[in-house]
């Protein structure tokens, strides 16, 4: 449980961090909260020669609203999200999701940007981002680009981020007033990743589904959008029968791998069960 030797860098500005990243290339890893990277280094699964700590860069932190967007600095911690009055009011799904990440100690250190950029399908923010139609600001040598969450997650530990880029900001369109939401997560114990989880945002109009987004955690190599399930629900009254049908469609996109949490059959069934529970709760919460 002791990592290989490495050089530690603590840049104070984004340009300095980008410079270090350019200088060390493949040898470097960005350090955010460290709660995925450091265990991997201690197990010697990851062996970066240089660790660039983003913790000292003030501009990567903070939560604010700009027009119809919520802007969250990539180095904002889970607890800062949970404690944010703005997010509690405007985006309670993100708060509900962050509260279910790991344990209180991890939530003091873990960051939203690290959680997303790591590309681990077991992390919770990726599915939350899909459900919230978020996008990510990425800064590289060639300037900034903004990439939507849809399409960002390519494979396990693989995202659309380029090696010379740093995620600077998470941008979430403010969900419409009265939108129903829920993050339903099944886990074995505090601190665990999900056996399966479902993130739902649900807009009702006249008792019918105007818009719905459903995303699943840890039941495939990436977080998954359940697009067929969404399509089925749109325009319909979200009664128990159609929710059950939607859950079955959500299960059909799952391709989980077996581990100590359960086999593929169980995890798929749990993705369905979490979808039912998330949709049912979102329906209750929708105005």
């Amino acid at each position: 449980m002791i990592p290989r030797p490495f050089e530690y860098h603590a840049p104070q500005t984004l340009p300095d961090a980008l410079g270090l990243l350019r200088q060390f290339g493949d040898e470097a890893k960005l350090l955010a909260g460290g709660h995925s990277l450091l265990p991997m280094m201690k197990l010697r699964f990851a062996q970066p020669g240089h660790l660039i700590d983003l913790g000292g860069i003030a501009e990567l932190k903070g939560i604010r609203q700009d027009g119809n967007s919520l802007l969250i600095g990539a180095m904002t911690t889970e607890n800062e999200i949970i404690w944010s009055q703005l997010l509690q009011t405007k985006c309670p799904l993100l708060v509900e999701g962050a509260r279910q990440i790991s344990d209180p100690q991890v939530r003091y250190k873990g960051t939203i940007g690290g959680d997303i950029a790591h590309g681990d399908p077991g992390n919770d923010h990726p599915a939350l981002m899909l459900a919230l139609a978020a996008s990510f600001a990425l800064r590289g040598a060639g300037g900034e680009r903004v990439v939507p969450a849809d399409g960002f997650f390519i494979g396990t530990y693989e995202t659309a981020m380029k090696p010379d880029e740093i995620m600077t900001q998470v941008r979430i369109p403010v969900p419409a007033q009265g939108a129903g939401y829920c993050y339903a997560k099944l886990k074995r114990k505090t601190g665990d990743f999900a056996a399966a989880a479902a993130a739902v945002v649900l807009h009702l109009k006249g008792g019918r589904v105007q818009e719905v987004r459903i995303a699943l955690t840890n039941v495939g190599p990436t977080p998954l959008r359940a697009t067929e399930a969404e399509a089925l629900l749109r325009g319909n009254r979200p009664d128990d029968a159609i929710i059950l049908q939607a859950a079955r469609l959500a299960m059909s996109v799952c391709a989980p791998s077996a581990d100590q949490r359960g086999d593929a059959e169980y995890k798929t069934a749990m993705a369905g069960e979490m979808t039912i529970r998330a949709l049912t709760t979102a329906r209750q919460r929708a105005a």
């Binding site: 002791i2 290989r4 030797p5 099944l186 114990k189 505090t190 749990m270 039912i276």
Partner: protein
């Protein structure tokens, strides 16, 4: 008792007081001193190179790259330990174990080489640079396949031995067969019984997983020829003897020092290869060497527990009155028989499996086998193999209740040993010292409104919901033990206490036991306080330094109070006897004219004429003593208990199961424990909370899983279930008091009861939730995944 007397008694904070733990002041300030806090000048660090395979030949070990890593001092392999004959070591199970792999590896992550370096980072780099060439061999992982004719031979080193200390072997992978009871008589009862039940019941391989992993700092002083080892041991004196036997260093020149220990639960009883490697490395280099386990190493290689594949059978009449018991178990001991057990009891105290019940005929048998898994079966918060035994009987009586259609509480009442039958000798030979089982059960059933719960369950079942009510009415066996029955390496399992009273009336007591969180510094002082009439606050307790404390077998098997606590009481009584003579002398009366009054001797009929213990302590250090009496007020007691103690309890657990996810929610857990005389009720409650939490962990989530090649599948805290306060249920505790007739103050052990009694209670509750569907047994752990699979196979959770 007068107000004044009561005040004096309360001031002592003796037996019965919920005195705050004296240890906690330093723990909550971070001022404890654990083995990894020990830093000695010039100290080197050891890192272990471990095998990636469960079974393989070692073709070669190349140290050259490791030796080139700056800061690496040496790389030790079996070949380097051979000249000092320390490449193998004897185990507590009469076998031998490789300290460093000798030509073969027998389990995954086995110790292959020991890299010494100037700091722990360099040691880890050096360990990674050691190149080992393996030739993989087929592994035996399932103990049920170990005795197949074509099974790979695991221990070629002893393949030609027809006996490894416990009777004849029938297969190269067979270790021993042990049996107890009347087989023919039992078989005869079964043949003619009105009702018989049989169930296969697994206690899976688990690990105690103490917060602090194992480790040591070995420091050999070449000039003086003295070896000091700071280590995480529950039994420092036994370790000293083992080290003397292994190293040839006179035992008088070996000092084992146990500081604060962050939990043991059995994991810190054995001597592990890492300790031996560190000791050898220090002897070779002449400088101190530290070795500290990682979490993964701890779960994977040191001190697992259980892995007992049992078969339970009961014969009964149609009313559910048990006539005979027949239990057997296939025990997976891993690659070496390093099970912690008394020499004459290779399957430990498994024969306590008749439980709290009056069973006329019984027979039990354990077959132990080798597999390609880590050795070192320890008693995880229980006495040796007692959890396994109690789990079987507490499960089987439920199975019988379902078969004969009798309520699960009622069937226990019908079979309990009755109060007037104590002391009661079981069909398997143990004499239960005291008990009052009916009263305990009835108190619990009333407290939880058992009839109301059953009515609620019936209503829930009618609407398709799963609710279970588990009962456990267990009897534990603790306090090893009578030396005629129990020894380890020939040393009887007595324990000791040495008390010295100072002139001003404070005292220091040293014992052969070793606290790992039990609160000995608090509770032993209370026993002595009550015996001597001196305030517990002024009684210091010391354990764990073998240069200071008298010899004892340590703390495990809930033996500290039954054995060490008894030694403390009896040592105190020797002092009190002398004090009485001094008091008689000072008061110029005969001893028979004196009576004891809380903290003083007074003259009968003249209470004003009295000498307090403090006054007597001072007098003991003056010239004013009876003729010929030695100065001082000291005593030492080596206590050999006449019997074990048999704490018992009655538990009820209520669970609600979410059939769609398999999640089991413990709605209520009510635990009544009877541990005889209660020394510190607050510490007892803490012990019960801890034991129940570990029982919950075992029943609901803990297991050390392997694939077919013997690879670990879950050996970090990501997978290994250590419940946090979020998962842990709320515990309700209660008690009755049935003193032990043979213990000096009537006390029994308590810390293990909730673990031993709790585990079957959880399983019984989970199974009970499915009982109306014809389910009689489900193996642990009851994870959501497994319970969901069960629901699915029964077809009860279709959406």
């Amino acid at each position: 008792m007068s107000e004044e007397t009561l005040q004096r008694e309360n001031k002592l904070e003796g037996v019965g007081a919920s005195r705050k733990r004296k240890e906690d002041a330093r723990f909550i300030r971070g001022q404890g001193s654990y083995v990894d806090d020990i830093k000695l000048p010039g100290m080197l660090f050891g890192a272990i190179v471990r095998s990636p395979y469960a079974h393989a030949r070692i073709k070669s070990i190349d140290k050259s790259k490791a030796l080139k890593v700056p800061g690496v001092v040496a790389v030790l392999t079996a070949d380097d330990l051979k000249p000092v004959n320390l490449h193998w070591m004897p185990t507590l199970g009469s076998d031998v174990q490789a300290v460093l792999a000798d030509k073969k590896v027998w389990f995954q992550l086995q110790e292959v080489a020991f890299v010494l370096a100037t700091d722990r980072y360099t040691a880890a780099d050096g360990a990674e640079a050691v190149e080992v060439d393996y030739e993989e061999l087929p592994a035996v992982v399932d103990p049920r396949k170990a005795l197949a004719a074509d099974a790979p031979v695991i221990r070629e080193d002893i393949a030609d031995k027809d006996n490894v200390g416990h009777g004849p072997r029938t297969h190269p992978n067979h270790i021993f067969t042990w049996e107890a009871g009347d087989k023919a008589g039992t078989d005869a009862v079964f043949a003619s019984a009105a009702v018989t039940v049989r169930e296969e019941i697994l206690n899976p391989r688990v690990h105690p997983c103490p917060l602090e992993t194992c480790g040591c700092v070995a420091s050999f002083d070449k000039v003086r020829g003295q070896l000091t080892v700071y280590m995480t041991s529950q039994a420092p004196h036994l370790v000293r003897t083992v080290v003397a036997m292994l190293s040839g260093i006179p035992e008088s020149k070996i000092r084992i020092v146990g500081g604060d220990i962050g939990g043991g639960f059995g994991n810190k009883v054995p001597v592990y290869p890492g300790y031996v490697a560190a000791i050898v490395a220090s002897i070779v280099t002449g400088v101190p060497v530290k070795w500290i386990e990682s979490r993964i190493d701890n779960i994977s290689t040191t001190g697992f527990a259980r892995d007992y594949h049992g078969i339970g059978e009961l014969a009964a009449d149609s009313n559910g009155r048990i006539k005979a018991l027949r239990f057997s178990a296939l025990a997976d001991h891993g690659a070496f028989n390093a099970h912690v057990s008394a020499t004459k009891l290779p399957a430990g105290l498994f024969s306590i499996c008749t439980g709290s019940y009056d069973i006329p005929k019984a027979y039990c048998r354990v077959d132990a086998v080798y597999t390609n898994k880590a050795p070192g079966g320890v008693a995880y918060r229980c006495s040796l193999r007692v959890t396994e035994a109690v789990y079987l009987i507490e499960r089987m009586i439920d199975v019988l209740a379902q078969k004969v259609g009798v309520d699960k509480a009622e069937i226990r009442r019908r079979n309990f040993v009755k109060p007037e039958q104590f002391p009661y000798t079981t069909a398997l030979g143990w004499t239960l010292d005291s008990g009052n089982y009916h009263v305990a059960l009835d108190k619990v059933l009333k407290a939880v409104d058992y009839d109301g719960l059953r009515a609620e369950q019936a209503a829930k079942r009618a609407s398709g919901q799963l609710m279970g009510i588990g009962i456990s009415t267990f009897t534990e066996i603790v306090g090893a033990g009578p030396t005629k029955v129990c020894d380890i390496l020939g040393i009887g399992l007595f324990d000791s206490c040495d008390i010295r009273v100072n002139p001003t009336g404070s005292a220091i007591a040293r014992l052969g036991t070793m606290s790992q969180g039990q609160g000995h510094a608090t509770t032993y002082a209370q026993i002595i306080a009550t015996e001597l009439g001196l305030p517990s606050e002024e009684i210091q307790i010391e354990e764990g330094d073998t240069d200071k404390a008298p010899y004892g077998a340590g703390t495990w098997g809930s033996r500290s109070t039954p054995v060490g606590g008894a030694a403390a009481a009896r040592a105190a009584r020797k002092i009190k006897d002398k004090a009485k003579k001094i008091a008689a002398h000072l008061l110029e009366v005969g001893e028979r004219d004196l009576e004891w009054d809380v903290d003083r001797f007074r003259v009968k009929g003249n209470p004003a004429a009295a000498k307090t213990m403090k006054e007597i302590a001072m007098a003991a250090h003056t010239s004013n003593l009876p003729d010929g009496m030695e100065k001082g007020l000291d005593a030492t007691e080596y206590y050999d208990p006449p019997n074990m103690t048999f704490p018992f309890g009655a538990y009820v657990c209520v669970v609600d199961i979410d059939k769609y996810t398999g999640e089991t929610k413990v709605r209520r857990f009510y635990a009544l424990d009877d541990c005889g005389t209660r020394i510190n009720p607050m510490i007892i409650e803490g012990q019960i909370h801890g034991g129940l939490t570990e029982a919950f962990a075992v029943a609901m989530g803990q297991a050390v899983p392997f694939d077919d090649n013997g690879n670990h599948l879950g050996n970090s805290l990501m997978d290994y279930f250590l419940p946090t306060s979020v998962e842990t249920p709320k515990w309700e505790t209660d008690f009755t008091v049935t003193p032990s007739p043979h213990h000096p103050i009537g006390a029994k052990g308590v810390a293990e009861s909730p673990h031993v009694g709790g585990i079957p209670c959880f399983t019984n509750a989970v199974v009970d939730a499915f009982a109306h569907l014809g389910v009689t047994h489900m193996d642990m752990p009851h994870t959501s995944f497994r319970v969901w699979q069960h629901c699915k196979s029964l077809g009860v959770n279709k959406r």
